[in-house]
Amino acid sequence: MAGIVGYGAYIPRNRIKSEEIARQWGKDPQAISRGLLLDEKSVPGLDEDTITISVAAGLGAVERAGIDPSVIGALYIGSESHPYAVKPSGTIVSEALGITPEVHVADFEFACKAGTEAMFVALGLVESGRVEYAMGIGADTSQGAPNDALEFSASAGGAAYLFGKENLLVEVLDTYSYTTDTPDFWRREGEFYPRHGGRFTGEPAYFKHVLSASRAILDRSGYKASDFRHAIFHMPNGKFPLSAGKQLGFTKEQLEVGWLVPTMGNTYSGSSPTGLAAVLDIAEPDDLILITSFGSGAGSDSFILRATDLLPQRVERAATVKSMLEGPRRYLTYGQYAKFREKIILND
């Protein structure tokens, strides 16, 4: 059986509070924290991007696996903020991780679902026997337009998953994907900020895909919500994942460990993968875990996972998600944030 042999996550140290963004635009801070359940979000430094986040998360995955990185046969990075339009992030990441040159590399893109997409393909290649080890990473440094609702959520971070067949930390019991054409959110080539399609964003996009994928994988596998210790649903804001989980029959206790969005924000391709990393940091042997991502456009990937005896022994080899969320932080003013996100135009 194939499964996860290593994992790692990374969240930048810079933060901005929702009330600081609300103050800038004359909005009611209470409405944001109560309505969207967002308190603060991570912000990438001027020197942090999808490539640097992927390297940091990937190093954690290699450490926890305890393997020589040069045996990794495939590396896929899912992001909607790859630093280059042409030149794969994976080329630089595989060089930095010591994986090159015998490796198959590609960058994936599917709005917020690109991370689980990369994981899905990496897992499939290992299961087929085509490669011995494969890594899938989800990472983003996404931007919302100034004074747009997305500005309160769009944040930075990511997680890396290394798949193999021996010394599993987590078994992958089943996977399922559900995709349709839905115009809920997009960014045309050359545009700086994304657009979202108002009434398309909730019911016909997020809920339809997340609920359909989760119900289908539960039906197919024969498990029910109460069999799981933890469940993670993509976190575009605080409310949606809690509502999706409740509709599927999950309790607050099953959702809370992976529900990072109130203090991390929405890390897009890194969102549900980082939620999963937070769960693996504390999971016990035999815990069953459900993760369902969502990417606008739109689609969802679901995975049913089971922790092994080895998992708790490997957690301490790399930084935990909690240590990064609650560790040293730097709170930015809106002015500093605008500078960090390069919303300020300078002369040459």
Binding site: R13, L46, D47, D49, T52, I92, A96, D348
Partner: protein
């Protein structure tokens, strides 16, 4: 055109590749082919661990034009446990807090951009531990 030197040096910039002299044990970073201590030529490659201690530091208030957005910033000589020494920016903290003895982790970061449309250059920077 991308800097040929940056590309040539990617093993030591990206993976902190250094050399250890088999004759006298001295570690040099970046890797060399002749040991600066004993002039031996029998060297082995090792990757420095991604952590170290600040040996000396300074704060740059007026940097090269590519670093305008980052000034003021701290530059430091950091020594790793293997004895390799490298000059790096120390970030994610107040520049004045970067003093000799400070423990840092060495993280992979964007160092500079070659103009508006050129390549992105990556390498390591120090980040205070804890």
């Amino acid at each position: 055109m991308p800097s040929p030197r940056y590309w040539r040096e990617r093993a030591n910039r990206f993976r902190l590749e250094a050399a250890r002299c088999k004759g006298c044990d001295r570690v040099t970073y970046p890797a060399r082919t002749i040991c600066p201590s004993c002039r031996g030529t029998d060297l082995e490659t090792l990757n420095l661990s991604r952590k170290g201690k600040v040996v000396t530091s300074t704060v740059v208030h007026v940097g090269p034009s590519e670093f305008t957005m980052e000034a003021p910033y701290a530059m430091a000589v950091v020594e790793t446990p293997e004895g390799g020494r490298l000059m790096v920016q120390v970030v994610d903290c107040e520049p004045s807090d970067v003093q000799p003895g400070l423990e840092v982790s060495l993280e992979f970061r964007l160092i500079r951009r070659e103009g508006h449309s050129g390549i992105l250059c990556y390498g390591h920077k120090g980040v205070p531990v804890g």
